[in-house]
């Protein structure tokens, strides 16, 4: 039986999520033995045409060109997985969605007329059907290996959707918000990082995006009671997953009150 074909594509992003694949130093050659790396320009000059059995897409949709390209990639893909906060939520560059992109362009570039960009940065799933979304800024490489492994064995990936709090408990980290009064997004953020930030004495900043059914307004009240003003609360919710619906809606409410 021929090996399944893997395609790795990118849009607006930092390359960190696809780099996670190359950061699997001990597993990379094994993975390459089980899968044909057909298109992965960050790693290889080789270009094998689609269709692809497994497609990984990094990055958000921000240009008219990319809007067309993602449709073509979808058409060439049997199983399409988006990886990282850019592809699943629009990324940090989605901060433009609240601003005037023309002003942004003028601020950064001397000749804004050369810039071709959309008003918004949006997740891939806003434009095409996505078979699985892997969260994180960056993704956790072990979760990526799990997704690839699950695909190879035709099963559902085992990726939890509970909050970072569960990981803190499991790790034995005392709650930084309760014990030290440090504002933390952990109660509304999906697990996956291993509850890193609280283990380093800082609050979670939400890089894995909203957990399943988060209660953001309740957490917002906790933050206010710790003395966080609404401007900083808005900034905290408008991070790497700013445009994910629960964070977006809550941030809009606080922005009106700020």
């Amino acid at each position: 039986m021929s090996k399944p074909k893997l395609g790795v594509f990118k849009f607006a992003s930092c390359d960190g999520c696809q780099l996670s694949l190359l950061d699997c130093e001990d597993e990379l050659l094994t993975v390459a033995g089980a899968i044909q790396i057909a298109f992965f320009p960050e790693a290889s000059r080789e270009y094998v045409e689609g269709p692809y059995d497994l497609t990984l897409v990094e990055g958000s949709i921000t240009t008219p060109h990319d809007l067309e390209a993602i449709k073509e990639i979808r058409a060439q893909s049997k199983f399409l997985v988006t990886i990282g906060a850019c592809a699943t939520a629009g990324g940090i560059q989605a901060l433009r969605n609240w601003k005037d992109v023309t002003e942004f362009t003028r601020y950064v570039y001397a000749h804004p007329e050369y810039i071709s960009t959309l008003e918004t940065s949006t997740p891939v799933a806003d434009h095409v059907a996505v078979d699985f979304e892997l969260r994180g800024c960056p993704i956790n490489k072990w979760q990526l290996v799990e997704v690839v492994n699950a695909f190879l064995h035709n099963r559902k990936p085992n990726i939890p959707t509970y909050s970072v709090c569960v990981e803190c408990k499991r790790r034995g980290t005392a709650c930084v918000m309760v014990a030290q009064g440090i504002p933390c997004l952990g109660p509304v953020t999906q697990a996956g990082c291993g509850a890193l930030c609280p283990a380093y004495n800082r609050g979670c900043y939400g890089c894995f995006g909203p957990m399943e059914s988060p209660n953001v307004p309740s957490l917002g009240e906790w933050w206010r009671s710790l003395g966080v003003d609404d401007r900083d609360l808005v900034n905290a919710l408008r991070g790497f997953n700013a445009y994910a619906e629960p964070f977006r809606e809550a941030s809009d409410v606080y922005a009106q009150q700020a």
Partner: protein, 435 residues
């Protein structure tokens, strides 16, 4: 991809440059044996970091700007933290400073080995990728992957994870390690001393085209140390200014014809940042071991052949391994993980040496610490004009090659720089006017 359109005209077009970080392309046209156009273009979509940083708190800068690049997040954390600290009058000293150097050693090791062995070496040995190369050179690829992992292990231990680590903050760290945590890295680092020495020897034996370029090299330079976080900005053609003088000596230009925002030396032109620049400008700061390895590799105290950058990356890897061991040996955990400071308004500058070259940040803050203005000049944007100059000269010297080999040679010329295109937020797609 490359097609001769007329008998006397050769057009080379690489639509999607592989084995670089980010999305770039390459176009060249030769007519009657004369190079008419050479352009290295970037179609990485703009993300507008400098624009959306306005209104964020100073403390967000290390976390947010790290997301400019997944390969060198530490560089962004360092340059932004130092820029903010310069506003608040905070100086990194003692163990806190050493830890910043140590995490940078980790980033240099992982990034340099990734580039040298996974992205660049396949060009020299004629493979499409390191994975193809592994079929014939499995031992070398496995050894390189293990060496890369030693670098990532340093970043993970100090930063929590290898990509976008979470422990660096303005004023120091959220948490500092115990001495015994760092000592756990020592056996692998000792192995890495030999492995990095092997990497220098291995890459020194590769065939290099005999090309020397008249680069203006620019790097950070420190009186006592090979540069990471601190020092003045210097060049081999007379620049010597404090970091806050960046805008006095360099300018960013949005060239209409090439449609890209590039940095240049004011009233002069292109310059080159990165390992070759650091090496040539700071050779005497390298340890006897690294200098000896360089001499065995056939390199003198300067290097102007961009194809030999692969050897210099391995020399800097050796330097980073040695430096990491030295820092760990000297380490005593500090009493607190950060330096207290008061937030105030002002303008601050930071320049540090990302694996692929100098990275400059400038911020202006209001009195509550919110960002009013941001400027970020990544190394690849600073070297872009130099890359195009270099491509033109390589092309002129290589016209006897058949099209497919010539295309590969030009791709390799770009990869000599380890370009980080996602970093280069100012890069745009090149539109060629074909007349």
């Amino acid at each position: 991809m490359s097609t001769p359109s007329k008998p006397e005209t050769r057009a080379i077009s690489v639509d999607y440059l592989a084995r670089v970080e980010g999305e770039g392309n390459l176009k060249a046209r030769v007519r009657d044996g004369k190079v008419e156009i050479v352009e290295f273009g970037i179609f990485e979509p703009p993300r507008f970091y400098e624009a959306f940083m306005r209104g964020r708190r100073f403390g967000d800068a290390p976390d947010i700007t790290a997301r400019i690049c997944g390969i060198c997040p530490i560089a962004y954390q360092m340059s932004s933290a130092h820029a903010m600290e310069s506003i608040f009058g905070v100086k990194m000293e003692g163990a806190l400073r050493d830890l910043r150097r140590l995490i940078y050693c980790g980033e240099w090791i992982e990034s340099h080995v990734l580039h040298a062995f996974m992205l660049h070496l396949p060009d020299f040995l004629g493979y499409q990728s390191a994975i193809h190369m592994a079929a014939d050179h499995r031992d070398a690829v496995e050894k390189a992957l293990k060496l890369k992992k030693v670098g990532n292990d340093i970043v993970t231990l100090l930063g929590g994870r290898e990509i976008h680590p979470i422990n660096v903050k303005v004023g120091g760290w959220y948490k500092v390690p115990a001495k015994k945590d760092l000592e756990a890295l020592v056996p692998d680092l000792e192995w890495a001393l030999d492995a990095a020495t092997w990497a220098v020897e291995f890459t020194a034996g590769l065939p290099f085209p005999e090309i020397e370029q008249d680069f203006e090299y620019v790097s950070v330079s420190h009186p006592d140390e090979y540069p990471f976080n601190e020092g003045r900005l210097v060049s081999n053609k007379g620049i010597d200014v404090p970091v806050s003088g960046w805008n006095d000596v360099f300018e960013e230009v949005h060239v209409a014809r090439s449609n890209a925002l590039q940095s240049k030396v004011r009233e002069r032109g292109s310059y080159h940042c990165g390992p070759l620049a650091r090496y040539t400008l700071n050779f005497e700061k390298l340890s006897p071991r690294v200098q000896q390895a360089a001499s065995k590799a056939g390199l003198g105290p300067t290097c102007f052949n961009p194809f030999q950058s692969i050897v210099v990356r391995c020399l800097e890897t050796l330097h980073s391994v040695e430096e990491a061991l030295r820092l760990i040996e000297a380490y005593q955990a500090p009493a607190r993980p950060d330096v207290p400071f008061e937030v105030k308004a002002g303008e601050g500058h930071g320049a540090s040496e990302a694996p692929r070259g100098m990275l400059y940040h400038r911020y202006r803050l209001d009195d509550e610490g919110y960002i009013l203005d941001a400027q970020i000049c990544p190394p690849t944007a600073q070297s872009q004009m130099s890359i195009e100059d270099d491509l033109r000269r390589v092309l002129e010297a290589s016209l006897d090659l058949p099209d497919d080999e010539l295309q590969w040679r030009l791709e390799q010329t770009v990869r000599n720089y380890d370009p980080c295109i996602s970093c280069a937020t100012h890069f745009l797609k090149v539109e060629i006017d074909r007349g």
